[in-house]
């Protein structure tokens, strides 16, 4: 057993942290998210060329740094601390995940594009009626000769306004909620028939409703085996959920830190409010929540390559812990800041908003509790 980071991993963390400290402080971030495009292509380019982190989880043959899930965890935790909106999760973790795990013919080229910062990916899996059931897919892909024709509506596709490519799930056979019959496709976002409605999200990202209207893609756009996409989707979204847990850990650490600082400085009744025992205990509970979240994030990240069932159980357990912790740490961070916590001006509220969205990202606490229960006790009769 070893919970230490290698020298390369520690370096990766330091590099990312010091870059963000320099180039991505809170004020810069706020300007960025309010700008027309809502992100910084220049920062993305620096991630690719100056830091090389867009290759963190890819093998050296592909031009990456030879890391994996642990590297994603490190990057995402630092991103959580700086509230980075640039689409590492969608592009590197999810897009990269599909390309790595599927045996996709064009994978090497696209991964090369990701590493260089030229390919950005957003994943459309949810549909308006589907909630957190990834098998609930109404979008259709009909085979016509050597091509597929896609039709459907993908809901709240995070990062789509910035993406060069979309990965979407579509049904090649079966009924609306059948586990079989789901296929995964990669399409250029500019492809004919893709219509998007772009909008900001409450946590400072950008997303789109994606409408596929007779989008014709070649057979080579199919990722993985036709009709057998769901296990792949589950694996990739588990990896994404683990990475999102790491991001939440980063955000929670900052909220806890800022709350301690604030409580030490803020004086009421002639003393720092940090001296009130009720607040001390609350801050201790926040601390315990953060530490337990760190542990669960490590656990889930280290189990991503186990069997499907082991992996799913580990990730759901982590997501439950993190979801509850985001709520507890976030709500108390605001509460202990008093009126100041309610202001747009202070960073703490923005961490709270991001943490709140991570609570529901890739499945809510209830969803993951149920998945854990099923994996652990079997399906209810």
């Amino acid at each position: 057993m070893d919970f230490n980071f290698s020298e390369e991993q520690s370096m990766l963390r330091d590099t990312v942290a010091s870059f963000l400290q320099d180039k991505y402080d809170f004020d810069k971030r706020q300007k960025l998210i309010k700008s027309e495009s809502g992100w910084s292509p220049a920062i993305w380019e620096a991630f690719a060329n100056e830091l090389g982190i867009l290759g963190a989880p890819f093998s050296e043959e592909l031009g990456g740094l030879g890391g994996g899930a642990i590297e994603n965890m490190i990057v995402m935790e630092e991103f959580g601390k700086a509230l980075v909106v640039e689409p590492y999760l969608g592009t590197v973790v999810i897009g990269g995940g599909f390309l790595k795990h599927s045996g996709y013919a064009g994978a090497a080229e696209l991964i090369g594009g990701i590493i260089e910062g030229k390919v950005t990916i957003a994943f459309g899996y949810a549909e308006p009626q589907a909630r957190y059931n990834w098998a609930d897919v109404k979008t259709t892909a009909k085979k016509e000769g050597d091509a597929f024709v896609l039709n459907g509506h993908k809901a709240v596709v995070i990062g789509a306004p910035w993406a060069s490519h979309l990965i979407v799930t579509a049904r090649t056979s079966g009924g609306q909620r059948d586990e079989d019959g789901i296929s995964v496709f990669i399409v250029e976002k500019g492809a004919k028939g893709i219509v998007t409605r772009d909008y900001p999200t409450v946590d400072g990202q950008r997303a789109s409703e994606v409408y596929l209207e007779n989008v014709t893609v070649p057979a080579s756009a199919l990722i993985g085996e036709e009709g057998k996409g769901l296990p792949l989707v589950n694996k990739v979204l588990d990896e994404a959920a683990a990475a999102a847990c790491a991001e939440a850990v980063g955000a929670m650490r900052k909220m806890h830190e800022q709350t301690l600082d604030y409580a030490r400085q803020r004086k009421q009744f002639g003393t720092a409010i940090a001296n009130f025992q009720v607040l001390q205990h609350r801050m201790v509970d926040m601390f315990m929540n953060v530490e337990q979240s760190v542990s669960m994030t490590y656990m889930a990240t280290l189990k991503l390559d186990e069997s499907d069932a082991e992996r799913a159980k580990a990730v759901s357990a982590a997501k439950v812990q993190i979801g509850k912790a985001c709520k507890f740490v976030g709500q108390n961070a605001i509460q202990i800041h008093g009126g100041m916590g309610m202001t747009e001006e202070l960073a703490v509220g923005h961490y709270f908003k991001r943490a709140t969205m991570i609570e529901g990202l890739y499945g809510s606490v209830d969803h993951h509790l149920r998945r854990y229960e099923t994996l652990s006790f079997g399906k209810a009769a």
Partner: protein, 404 residues
């Protein structure tokens, strides 16, 4: 003991229900369920309808327009207002400063202010909190020095900064706590002033909250000249008024009737949102259990409030029990917004306010019921902070009720 409403009570309830149905301004119909930002005119239009009917300030003494209703009638009135998603009457004038004025004010003050509060002609804001005086309100520093003006009249010259002043951007008048004697013990040198917000030297600056809204403000006072006759009650005895007002502020804050309507709205929402199995969320066992738990907690609060009301109508003023109502009421309001956020699923995330491209014709994304859930959730975190934070309320119960 019994829980029955008398035939008179039921007739009263029907009368209120019918009046609201017939007279609630049409343009507000979809706004009261806090899905939209409310304008000054929105607030006032309904206020004026109720004032005309004589129902805007049921609790006031009869001579000033109070209704002389029993506590059951007040309760039923609140229920009907909430049931119709009617915009609540803003508390700063009617429920906060007015009781101070009719309890502690001079006849001139009552004549001058009460009718205009009643009619909605003058909008009030509350200038209590300061950057350094939040929970520890008595440590406020805004100072008022007494001078004799060139006209031979007496004035206070007020200097300082207030903060978190709700809706001050619309206010005509504010009631302020100021320090008139810096030497006295901190609670003893405070006075309660009514200040015309148009007086030179007052600057109101917006504070934007995490939901993106503009509800609170900083108020700067620089050499603001306030006639001495605008002081309510004795000089240096303003703390008496302040405490009296806070107890009133807290008793309205439980919001039971509105939360009951809120539970219904969550149920309505869950009946159109999908659960993971494609059926509606209201059939989802986990979600259902959470709604049921909330309903039960709300029932416990409701019956506690009814007990407090009953003892108030037996002649006791709002006491430290109002702290219980404040804590539980606000916790329930917060949980309601958590459930709505959960119900919205992915569609909690789209946001429309103050962003580029956010034009008039940007219609919301996702189902209507989802589109304000996240801002509402973030905004409602305020309820455990304002009106005396819930930690302070627990301190009050520990000290005043339990004698610890």
């Amino acid at each position: 003991m019994n829980l029955d409403f008398s035939p008179e009570d039921i007739a009263f309830r029907d009368e209120v229900r019918a009046f609201i149905a017939e007279n609630y301004p049409a343009q507000l119909r979809d706004k009261g369920s806090d899905r939209e930002d409310l304008s000054k005119d929105d607030f006032l239009s309904w206020h004026k309808v109720l004032a005309k009917k004589g129902w805007v300030a049921p609790s006031w003494p009869k001579e000033w327009g109070g209704c002389g209703w029993t506590s059951t009638q007040k309760y039923l009135f609140g229920e009907e207002m909430a049931r119709a998603d009617a915009i609540p009457i803003l508390p700063f004038g009617v429920a906060m400063v007015a009781p101070v004025i009719y309890t502690f004010g001079t006849q001139e003050q009552k004549d001058r202010y009460l009718p205009k509060i009643y009619n909605g002609e003058e909008w009030w804001c509350q200038g209590y909190s300061e950057p350094g005086a939040g929970s520890d309100l008595a440590s406020l520093k805004t100072k008022a020095e007494r001078i004799t003006g060139d006209d031979g009249k007496e004035y206070y010259i007020v200097n300082g900064q207030k903060t978190w002043t709700t809706l001050a951007q619309h206010a005509d008048w504010g009631f302020f706590l100021v320090r008139t004697n810096p030497e006295a013990k901190i609670q003893e040198g405070i006075s309660f002033l009514l200040i015309d917000m148009k007086t030179p030297g007052i600057t109101v600056r917006p504070i934007i909250t995490i939901d993106g809204g503009h509800e609170v403000n900083e108020v700067w006072l620089e050499n603001v000249k306030v006639p001495v006759e605008n002081r309510v009650f004795e000089e240096n005895k303003g703390w008496t008024c302040a405490k009296f007002l806070l107890a009133h502020e807290r008793s309205g804050i439980a919001g039971v009737a509105r939360s009951k309507r809120g539970v219904e709205r969550v149920r309505e929402m869950a009946s159109v949102e999908f659960g993971d199995d494609g059926d509606n969320l209201l059939k989802d066992a986990d979600f259902k259990r959470k709604v049921a738990e909330l309903e039960i907690d709300l029932t416990a609060l409701e019956y506690t409030e009814l007990r407090v009301l009953a003892s108030e109508s037996a002649g006791k003023g709002p006491g430290p029990e109002s702290s219980l109502l404040k804590i539980k009421g606000t916790e329930i309001q917060q949980r309601l917004t958590e459930l709505a956020l959960e119900a919205a699923g992915h569609y909690a995330s789209p946001y429309f306010r103050g962003f580029p491209g956010d034009g008039d014709n940007a219609h919301p994304i996702g189902p209507d019921s989802a589109h304000r859930t996240a801002p509402n959730y973030f905004n409602t975190r305020k309820t455990s902070i304002y009106g005396g934070s819930n930690e302070i309320q627990r301190n009050i119960i520990a000290k005043m009720v339990l004698g610890l």
